[in-house]
Amino acid sequence: MRVPPKYTQMAAITLLGGATLLTLAVLVFIIAFVLEKGLPGVTWTFLSAEPQDMGRAGGIFPIIVGTLLLPLLALVIALPLGVGSAVYLCEYTRETRLTRVIRFGTDCLAGIPSIIFGLFGLVFFVGILHLGWSLLSGGLTLAIMILPTIIRTSEEALRAVPYAYREVSCSMGATRWETVRRVVLPNALPGIVTGVMLGLGRCISETAAVIFTAGTVAAMPTSAFDSVRTMAVHFYLLAREGISNEKAYGTAAVLILAVLLVNLAAYWMMHAFIRRRAR
């Protein structure tokens, strides 16, 4: 006997809706669980004190500093490269074999797992360039890791700038470079900042690549050649070595809040950007 389509439709919707709810529930549970266990331990002393006894006591101040400095350095390196790549792809050339190769390379780079970036950073920056386990090695490695994200979002931002803007600028006698610098880039800025935020989020949550290149020293760095420890790494060490669950939860709560805030800022900015463009 054939089941009437009306009933199969009802069954299908129930099943699909159930799957969606389950997905959302699991993801929300993870965040709620970590915040509920960790937030009570997040006090002002926790945020502003040095860690003591390998992290069993004290706070995470130098680790917060490391978490700020390392992604910042990565962005300083990746931003000009990423935006420059996007400018070339959008403003200076048509689709050629070369742009296809560049796009292919960017897509491949985006899919490489972080452990491979870590291995590469370990051989090249730490070893061959003699930078050691340092802020600089870690920053360079993370810069390569987030380069594809920045290229892609910048490209989208540049393409969203109406073509007429460029035509007007060129018709007034501006060169291509003047047009890019004075007209296209300022208009694409919010979109580019979105890419920056997404890259920042990835850097903050990265662990494997950071351990291999920036090391794990939990002290205030005094130069770019000092090792640093980020919150993700600190959390990993505390949790895996079973040093202190309480401090691990606290670090995880700060880490999750930081990542969510950064990503939220990215989406908010992208939305504002799209809405302004739509008008």
């Binding site: 389509p5 009306k6 199969t8 439709q9 919707i13 699909l16 799957a19 969606t20 389950l22 997905t23 959302l24 993801l27 993870i30 965040i31 669980f33 970590v34 000009p80 420059g84 790549s85 400018v87 070339y88 792809l89 403003e91 200076y92 560049i102 292919f104 390379g105 897509d107 491949c108 780079l109 899919g111 490489i112 797992p113 452990i115 491979i116 291995l119 590469f120 051989v123 090249f124 390569i144 380069l147 290229i151 060169t175 291509r176 470079w177 949550s205 662990t207 494997a208 351990i211 993700a232 959390f235 990993y236 949790a239 895996r240 995880a252 999750i256 990542v259 990503n263 939220l264 989406y267």
Partner: protein
């Protein structure tokens, strides 16, 4: 003079634009340079197919790690793919646009949760659940597969929703006009049209699962052996590299880089497959 300045700018940007492909080549070069000589010296077949990993005695067989990586990835896909695709279909076809506009960014936001946090949840919540209900040590192949299955959900949902959204509305209207129910239209028309994008999302998720390191180290148990059941602790290729790298020297270190070469090749194959699937969608 101005024209020549513009020319210079063009070449500067061209040089910058090659930075991504140059980085990719550098990475490939140095990983291969460190790992390939070892593979050739030790024998590729022996390296890939024997199951003795005793670095101090010069035995480097990574078969158990390859098998564990494959099983964990397969398990993760078994959990992540149906849930993710079902979620994508539901969100794009059966939910008002306004709701979807809230839920999709939320799910993408969750893609930003650090993998160490997923791993920690696996240790604190999932492993005890498995231990008390199913037996075994808890930290196991099953736990790793479930955690990775959850981790890849945002990837699958996000890309699949885009693929389904790219199907022209006329397709749906045509099916509905012929008397199909919404579900029939989705199943027979929309899913067929969005197929390559959905497949691409699953392949990309596979790449993420194969390459994931920290979460797996925390939940998989890390015993080197060929698994006979899903409840046994296992060690993956990525975990092996991350755990042993800090203490490794000489041959041992080269063997770990050789493991990295295997991983790199697998990921590049998966990426190429995903890109080919995406291009087919774009070509039509």
């Amino acid at each position: 003079m101005r024209i020549s300045g513009d020319k210079i700018a063009k070449y500067v940007f061209l040089a910058i634009a090659c930075s991504a492909i140059a980085s990719l080549l550098l990475i490939a070069l140095f990983i291969l340079l460190e790992g390939l000589p070892f593979i050739l010296r030790y024998g590729p077949w022996k390296f890939l197919s024997t199951s003795d990993w005793r670095p101090h005695e010069g035995a480097f067989g990574i078969a158990p790690m390859i098998i564990s990586s494959l099983w964990i990835t397969a398990g993760a896909m078994l959990i992540g793919a149906p849930l993710g695709v079902a979620g994508a279909v539901f969100l794009s076809e059966f939910v008002p646009k306004s709701v979807m506009c809230i839920i999709k960014p939320t799910i993408e936001l969750l893609a930003g949760i650090p993998s160490v946090v997923y791993g920690f949840i696996g240790v604190m919540v999932l492993a005890p659940l498995i231990r008390t209900n199913l037996g075994g040590p808890g930290l196991s192949l099953l736990a790793a597969a479930v955690i990775l299955g959850i981790m890849v959900l945002p990837t699958i949902i996000s890309i699949s929703v885009d693929a389904i959204g790219a199907v022209p509305n006329a397709f749906r209207e045509g099916a509905l006009a012929l008397g199909a129910t919404r579900w029939q239209a989705v199943r027979m028309v929309v899913l067929k049209a969005a197929r390559s994008g959905i497949i691409a999302s699953i392949i990309l998720a596979m790449g993420r699962a194969v390459g994931e390191t920290m979460a797996v180290i925390m939940v998989a148990g890390n015993t080197i052996r060929t698994p006979h059941s899903a409840l046994e602790p296992v060690r993956t290729l990525t975990a092996n590299i991350a755990i042993e790298m800090s203490a490794a020297t000489g041959m041992h270190r080269q063997a770990l880089f050789a493991t990295g070469v295997v991983l790199f090749v697998v990921i590049m194959i998966l990426n190429s497959l995903a890109m080919a699937a995406m291009r087919r969608k774009g070509g039509r």
